[in-house]
């Protein structure tokens, strides 16, 4: 099957329960907002292909599957992730304070060069705001990452956030490729990609 994209990026959503990670995911991948479907169906990742500088980029965006609830994200969740959206809720002080813990978690488990971005979600609820935009900006500067306030419900900045993250990863990837130093590794096989190679008995299997 011909590849229909130039790059495939694995992105993760991370943050406390109820900050709207799944809603952000649905806003971006389906342009839909619905508060009732969450936790009722088995969603673990969504795919959307975007175009940046004439390159087709397939974004595979993974949700936490509720394992953030008791801080039990599997280490396997972080494998191969190229970008991480750290999400807090601007109406929940606690979710903002916990960003530090999530960053520590990322440092322990994700690749060192993973691209990160901080999102303050639910910015449509300005009257219930507990975390000022400035504090969000300040924290992002502290960690040297980008920051945006978003609203999955009102569809503010969600698209922009993912495009920003994707374009930063793309720049990094291309820089690495230009340096003619592609990441070395053995062939990693997905079980779904059955590669038939010759074996002793490949004749027999044709019978």
């Amino acid at each position: 099957m011909a590849k229909t994209y130039d790059y495939l990026f694995k992105l993760l959503l991370i943050g406390d329960s109820g900050v709207g990670k799944t809603c952000i995911l649905f806003r971006f991948s389906e342009d839909a907002f619905n508060t009732t479907f969450i936790s009722t169906i088995g969603i673990d990742f969504k795919i959307r292909t975007i175009e940046l500088d004439n390159k087709k980029i397939k974004l595979q965006i993974w949700d936490t599957a509720g394992q953030e609830r008791f801080r039990t994200i599997t280490t396997a969740y972080y494998r191969g992730a190229m970008g991480i959206m750290l999400v807090y809720d601007i109406t929940q002080e606690k979710s903002f304070e916990n960003i530090k813990n999530w960053i520590r978690n990322i440092e322990e488990n994700a690749a060192a060069d993973v691209e990160k971005m901080l999102l303050g979600n639910k910015c449509e609820l300005n009257d219930k705001r507990q975390v000022s935009k400035e504090r969000g900006e300040q924290l992002a500067i502290e960690y040297g990452i980008k920051f945006m306030e978003t609203s999955a419900k009102a569809s503010i900045n969600v698209e922009e956030a993912f495009l920003t993250l994707a374009s930063d990863i793309k720049a990094k990837t291309e820089k690495r490729m230009e340096a003619n130093n592609p990441p070395k590794g053995g062939h990693q096989l997905k079980l779904t990609e059955i590669r038939t190679k010759d074996s002793w008995l490949s004749r027999c299997s044709l019978l």
Binding site: A32, G66, Q67, T74, A76, T192, R195, T196, K197, D198
Partner: protein, 517 residues
């Protein structure tokens, strides 16, 4: 944080080891309300992988399932890297420089290789859990022949290229394996029937193969000893052959980043279907009534219709029902700066290789898995050697001494670190005989692949939920229709082929009905 934990479940699973995670995922997948807890702060129980630092800590604190742990830092400085005229570089590894890279290690308690067409791979594909895992195909299956490590050829080009075998041997081997592959089919060779009831070795010898081929088949392909029955040997040979030519060059796969990833993949599926996860949560007591089990944990009483537990995670009062843990596996783990065997076996910085070994007397066996950085389980320039043998004593180093001696000099300068430990679990019979309503999993046994572990999980699942399918295929995210959307928005092309065909049949049938009206 634990206050918002619900108190009533269909199933509570204690321990996040391989079999427990399979059961949790399977129950959640069919709509059961599952709570999955573990007293450790990591996933995987005795099936987990650890950073170097965490691994040492684990060995320092014996538990009911991991005991007799010791580790030693060897004279950790060594020069390497002059092979094949490449630019000379000197890397010296010290205890400090190894610990600095602690997190780059994934050190497995229970490492396995999986057959490419074996039960694990089949289950992962069938259930679609394979999307959470990545594998590396093993580079070489090895055997020891006159004290030397040689590669067992696994493809026609291997056979063609190998210098290990002569032309005549190559032909003999091909002929023998073709006969094995055909065994059991209608065109079955009549002369093989005479060997039923005998041993596989007798059959092999009757084929007048050379000693080298006999070694190759017994050690690596059929994985037999002198007493293995003809039928078992045949079955294993067929399993090996049936797994060739699927992924990569050998019939085996190893999970990237270590085997500890696998239980997590099952846990992820369980969570995706609504299973709740709590680590660092132990169980103080379990009581039961006619209809439910009451689990006391962290000051709360949780109620469940069924309960599955790893033997090691039961509260002490109940663990006695299942018998005392006995040594099951003796494990050795070595970190070295030089891979085992020739350059040929370790092209491009080292292979992920597998070797089955017999004691000099031929009575006991062990398996060795060599991991290079291509497995994602250790930093570049280092290699992990995993040795596993069925325990015969509480002294893992003693159990493994014979095998180690065949492979390398444990005092050689390239050995930087060595560790030994025992994996213990109650005997299978005492678990089966326990008179409680708790379903207890069996713990790891000595095997290639995960056959016994999967069978254990499947068996418990079928006792819990009779007639329910064990891990049916989970749909891909594209196939899931979001609430409130028009179901016809489901893209026809996102359906698997069989469903698409069904859909077309249905549409056709509907059209024909319209015409009839």
């Amino acid at each position: 944080m634990s206050d918002d934990l619900p108190e009533e479940f269909d199933l509570i699973v204690i321990g996040t080891g391989f079999a427990e995670s399979c059961i949790a995922a399977a129950a959640s997948r069919i709509g059961k309300n599952v709570l999955h807890i573990d007293s450790n702060d990591y996933y995987g129980d005795v099936w987990s992988s650890f950073s170097l630092e965490a691994f040492n800590k684990l060995l320092e604190q014996p538990s009911s399932s991991v005991r007799n742990g010791t580790y030693t830092w060897h004279n950790a400085t060594e020069e390497h890297g002059q092979e094949q005229g490449q630019e000379q570089e000197t890397t010296s590894w010290t205890r400090e420089s190894l610990l600095e890279k602690s997190r780059r290690f994934s050190l497995d308690l229970s490492p396995r290789v999986a057959y490419c067409a074996g039960s694990l791979v089949q289950l992962l594909i069938k259930s679609n859990i394979c999307r959470y895992a990545e594998f590396r195909s093993l580079d070489h299956v090895c055997m020891l022949y006159s004290k030397e490590l040689v590669s067992v050829p696994c493809s026609r080009s291997d056979v063609f290229n190998t210098k290990t075998l002569t032309m005549v041997e190559k032909r003999l081997l091909m002929k023998f394996l073709t006969a094995c592959n055909d065994y059991g089919e209608d065109k079955c060779n009549e002369d093989s029937l005479a060997f039923r009831g005998g041993t596989f070795l007798e059959y092999l010898q009757a084929q007048r193969v050379t000693e080298k081929i006999s070694n190759c088949v017994m050690q690596a392909i059929a994985m037999c000893d002198a007493s293995t029955s003809f039928e078992t040997g045949m079955e294993r040979t067929q399993r090996f052959l049936g797994s060739l030519g699927r992924y990569g060059n050998t019939p085996f796969l190893f999970p990237m980043y270590g085997c500890g990833e696998l239980p997590q993949c099952f846990c992820r599926l369980c969570a995706v279907y609504g299973g709740i996860y709590c680590l660092k949560r132990s169980v103080e007591d379990i009581n039961w009534t006619e209809s439910e089990l009451l689990v006391s944990s962290a000051g709360k009483t949780l109620r469940a219709k069924h309960l599955v537990s790893a033997p090691s995670q039961l509260p002490a009062t109940l663990a006695t029902h299942f018998g005392d843990p006995e040594p099951r596996l003796s494990r050795g783990l070595f970190i070295t700066s030089k891979p085992l065997g020739s350059e040929e076996l370790n092209k491009g910085g080292g292979g992920v290789n597998f070797l089955r070994l017999l004691t000099t007397s031929g009575e006991r066996e062990a398996c060795l898995i060599q991991l290079s950085h291509y497995s994602g389980a250790c930093p570049e320039g280092l290699y992990i050697l995993h040795l596993t043998t069925p325990a015969v004593s509480s002294n893992p180093a003693g159990d493994l001494a014979d095998f180690v001696a065949q492979l390398f000099d444990p005092n050689a300068s390239e050995i930087l670190y060595s560790a030994y430990f025992t994996i213990a679990a109650p005997a299978a019979e005492s678990i089966a005989n326990a008179a409680t309503p708790i379903y207890c999993t069996a713990g790891p046994v000595y095997e290639q692949d995960y056959d016994a572990a999967i069978e254990n999980a499947r068996h418990i699942f079928s006792q819990l939920y009779e007639n329910e399918e064990f891990l049916p295929r989970a749909p891909d995210p594209e196939e899931i229709v979001v609430d409130g959307e028009d179901p016809s928005a489901l893209n026809e092309h996102s359906l698997p082929e069989d469903l698409r065909a069904q859909l077309q049949d249905l549409e056709q049938a509907a059209q024909q009905m319209d015409i009839a009206e």
